[in-house]
Subunit: 491 residues, 2 copies
Amino acid sequence: MNLPVVSVILLVVSTVHAFQYTELAQYIDSHQEEYVEALRDWVAIESDSSNVQKRPELHRMMEMTAQKLRLMGGTVELVDIGEQELPDGQTVTLPKVVTAQFGNDPSKVTVCVYGHVDVQPAKLEDGWATEPYNLTDINGNLYGRGASDNKAPVLAWIHAVGAYQALNMELPVNVKYVIEGMEETGSNGLDAMILAQRDTFFSDVDYIIISDCSWLSRRPALTYGTRGNCYFFAEVEGPKQDLHSGVYGGTVIEPMTDLIGILDTMINPSGKILIPGIREAVAPLSDEEWKMYQDIEFDVENYKSKIGVSHLMYTNKVDLLAHLWRYPTVTIHGIEGAFSDRGTKTVIPLRLSLIYHVIFLYPVVVMLQVTDYLHSVFAKRKSPNKLKVTMVIGAKPWLADPQQALYEAGKAAVRRVFDMEPDLIREGGTIPIAKTFQDVTGKSIIMMPIGGFDDGLHSQNEKMSRYNYIEGTKLFIAYLNEVSKIQKTSV
Amino acid sequence: MNLPVVSVILLVVSTVHAFQYTELAQYIDSHQEEYVEALRDWVAIESDSSNVQKRPELHRMMEMTAQKLRLMGGTVELVDIGEQELPDGQTVTLPKVVTAQFGNDPSKVTVCVYGHVDVQPAKLEDGWATEPYNLTDINGNLYGRGASDNKAPVLAWIHAVGAYQALNMELPVNVKYVIEGMEETGSNGLDAMILAQRDTFFSDVDYIIISDCSWLSRRPALTYGTRGNCYFFAEVEGPKQDLHSGVYGGTVIEPMTDLIGILDTMINPSGKILIPGIREAVAPLSDEEWKMYQDIEFDVENYKSKIGVSHLMYTNKVDLLAHLWRYPTVTIHGIEGAFSDRGTKTVIPLRLSLIYHVIFLYPVVVMLQVTDYLHSVFAKRKSPNKLKVTMVIGAKPWLADPQQALYEAGKAAVRRVFDMEPDLIREGGTIPIAKTFQDVTGKSIIMMPIGGFDDGLHSQNEKMSRYNYIEGTKLFIAYLNEVSKIQKTSV
């Protein structure tokens, strides 16, 4: 190999296409209002993937996304990923996955940006201060469902490529997009699509970039791990119909009491998981990790005041970060089938509970552990009712090496745009597709968030700040340049 | 006092107005279809008092009831009972109470029939086999929300008076009606109205008749007691907004876990109430009661198959009846504020629970016992979240002497129409207005059900059988005659 010669040639190329960051950044700044309008158009679409009634909106959202990429001259496809089976046995068409490609120069690095344009449910009466599907600018914050999760980041990646095009600058890398519409309910159909296109669309992809996460503080961050998520339904079935609690109460062994009884055995008031084997399977924090966590910018008082609580489960930063990122926890989400509207109702309900499990472990093991445990606890009650436990989402955790070249490029881009070092963080939430990308394509993944630490993902009053949206777009522009250099040193 | 003479005079009057039961019963039979149509018209009105959106329907229901009584020549009033305060502080007009009077002969007994024309919520998708507000006749059963609770019984009382009128027979007693529209949510405003009219509308009332209950088996029944009902909200308040369980789970002390934890301490799997003082306040079953319960027609296997369970909390009839009628129980109704739709959602919710309490005890005592207990259990959790316990309904139990003349008249009427002795039963459900009538007017009350044991009150597929509706109307006709005789013997 004649390494030095090749290196010289590439240096020449690099000079010809010198990175004109200042011009690109100015272009972004001067088009800020246009970008806000684009976000407004996207937020206006109630692309709630958890609500089958909203499926037409979701289809429209995918079509709009494809159309935007087509108008920029990309090679765009709407990939059919089949149907979704509903709990009642009916089927409904899944939203198509949008794939797009800009540039196909085999000498360049090819990155693939993953994002999603579906959203969590939101209603004004849930406690939103503004209409959730009408993007509202208050003091530089853009409030709307899906603004931060994940519509603005997807748009920022589109604007980044658009800026290069508008200034007639050659893209330093080939850019592909994979944009789905089922992320909020478990990326139904996407795994199979990635597997099917492993040797076609994904064959020339070098790196996968995901921006479906947030910073931890006001300091920019790169994310190198996410927790898994095992989501269970536990159903207790009793009488064949709802019964008047006055007329029957006292004689019937009530499913709700059974359900409450078994849910109460999962986690104690100190946050200790009581399901055998779950916590034990996670390795203790290493000294190195402890040191790393200790150095991260994380203001406990600020965190408490942001979420509005006087006490957290742990008092020090390292314990809190470890329980956010690497240890399992149990959240109980609600009880289906019972009366849930405001007001009084006198019925003995018979139905379902949702249990949620955020766990840094592998789903198959967790599924057995949780199912066995709940059945054993239920058996002790000697109830005639029937318990059924189902794991409806089993998302694997993901972990990367934050010292690899892909992350070094990210650090360089952050330095360029923000003039500081990023925090290296993990994410409590789950981005299961990261693990799939890694397993199926064998490629490395970087998570590069631009969402703010206080964006309120999945909550009322979700927002994206103009600052993060616009500076985030610049970060992506800079990153496309930085990531193009990796190949050079490795040729 | 010259008792014998008075008695003779009344005997003469009694001869002149000899009771022509056969003619009246034939009239009822021949007007069956007209009565079914009247019920269809009433069931068609969605007079759901728990849903403020349906308030116009409820007002219309009261107006229709008044109009029906006016057309029969009654002295009818629509009594304004003020406004209802909603949880959000807004107010909404309460449905007026309909009062009516037929006859005002001071020498006759005056009975006052109480009933209600509001209903529980019902939706087809809750599991109804037919449209709940479209009365549907299937094999002689009339399915529809409110058919049995309490529209058909109210109509039967109206038809009873109408039959006397149609055959130009003098009513043996003066008949008054009090028909309200807020029964299903706690008879808001009715207590005050009864108190206000104690010395006017209610001053000449001798007996109060309530038909808002059901038989226990296929055998007709008279009801001499109802349980009380203490209905609580327990609210646990945590973070200032819903949080993404992936992003925050593990660090936050979750309100749902707290709520499940305290709800689980109220009642054990064997049905034992763990709140100190509640069960202890109820006297043990006396030998006499045991004997009485033992003689009642109650088929345990039939009861089990009706509600569709393999086991009940107790195996023998007496234990079951005692726990239906006289012992307290706890029903947990549902959890507000959390996600309750079908599907998955990843939010840490912060809100409310409904707890229900059917108790044969006085509400003020229960309120303190439950509130103190839940706060003490919550305190042990050392949670930073806030617990608020509120009793939103406190309905007193009611008990009558089933050997008094009023009940003897009922037994005679049952013998006349059904040719058998009625069961003497209590009701698990609450009819709090009975206690109010008793306390305010000082008059005796009889509960005379015509609803079938399997009518499904408050459930899906509520029905009233044609048999019970029509024979029930005859029972009321016979009872008006029997009750008119009480005065004679006591003059």
